[in-house]
Symmetry: C2
Subunit: 209 residues, 2 copies
Amino acid sequence: MGNKNISMAVIRRLPKYYRYLGDLLDRDIQRISSKELSDIIGFTASQIRQDLNNFGGFGQQGYGYNVDALHKEIGKILGLDTKYNAVLIGAGNLGQAIANYSGFRKAGFEIKALFDANPRMIGLKIRDFEILDSEDIEEFIKENDVDIAIMCIPKKGSQELADRLVNAGIKGIWNFVPVDLDVPESVIVENVNLTESLFTLSYLMKAED
Amino acid sequence: MGNKNISMAVIRRLPKYYRYLGDLLDRDIQRISSKELSDIIGFTASQIRQDLNNFGGFGQQGYGYNVDALHKEIGKILGLDTKYNAVLIGAGNLGQAIANYSGFRKAGFEIKALFDANPRMIGLKIRDFEILDSEDIEEFIKENDVDIAIMCIPKKGSQELADRLVNAGIKGIWNFVPVDLDVPESVIVENVNLTESLFTLSYLMKAED
């Protein structure tokens, strides 16, 4: 595959298109113009046409977009029809919340196991998962064809863990640790930095005063 | 206050500066050049000088930056020295994880109460908080000078809740619901959209194949 020339800005908008198109389908709306889509998403109609043209352009002059076809197509572009095996490391509060997160199925991700380094956590059951010992993670990744690791551990030791994951052959990391992980270019890292988001909120609140 | 002319791109980089400067302080490093800062943060030295110039420019020719002073100053710009009262709505898995999140204190946010609409949750204790009935949220906001609401509820009913919060005088929303809330311009909304992040990871994994 690889639409490697698509800018990250466009890519980051795709999930939003996908979400709004899904909402339209829920309301049984089957056809929409770029102008109408613009009204609900808040991007300009020209931006929408330009974004979607990156992927071949699904609109027809005078008809607009077929909502279902566009939704399916963007889903494919996002790789939601591709299945990935995932493990989650760090079964604390946040890790448990993430493990229970219903969005994984939609994205084609299947969590295969939870890991923790704390002896008091190892062996506990969270929903369908027994928490396994972090020591065994490399072996598990290799034996179960795990593609993605979700990191929910504290900052300390996170780079060392990332190194171990990379050595075990992991291809992507969904990283909740507030650290910029140093990994080979071929390994995808997507960060969710709650502190940065909270600090941005704090800044905007103060600026509004 | 209000550095309203600063672009969101610059603002979104500030928490990162703050984090790296904090790491330097932890390692007792008191002085750093924009070149050295560039090496560890990964922005260019010229970008760093330009970013920090937006706020008055803290560097001195031939000396570089005083790490502690710059850290403190960025903290002030981010409003981390300003105290805000917060409530969290939706005490499910994610809500509980967020409620336990240690970053709030650093950002000057104090969670005053948790709310849930589920009768089976109301009255339960999560750490220091008894879960209160969502019905009572407007009254609580007004009586306790609450500035910020953290929304961790399902999609359905989220706009109605946002309307109630706005009417009760809330000034900011940290929104974990995958919905673009419609609020007056004076109300700050900062979104954390886990699904969008996950879909981006999925896209990048597929593009790498």
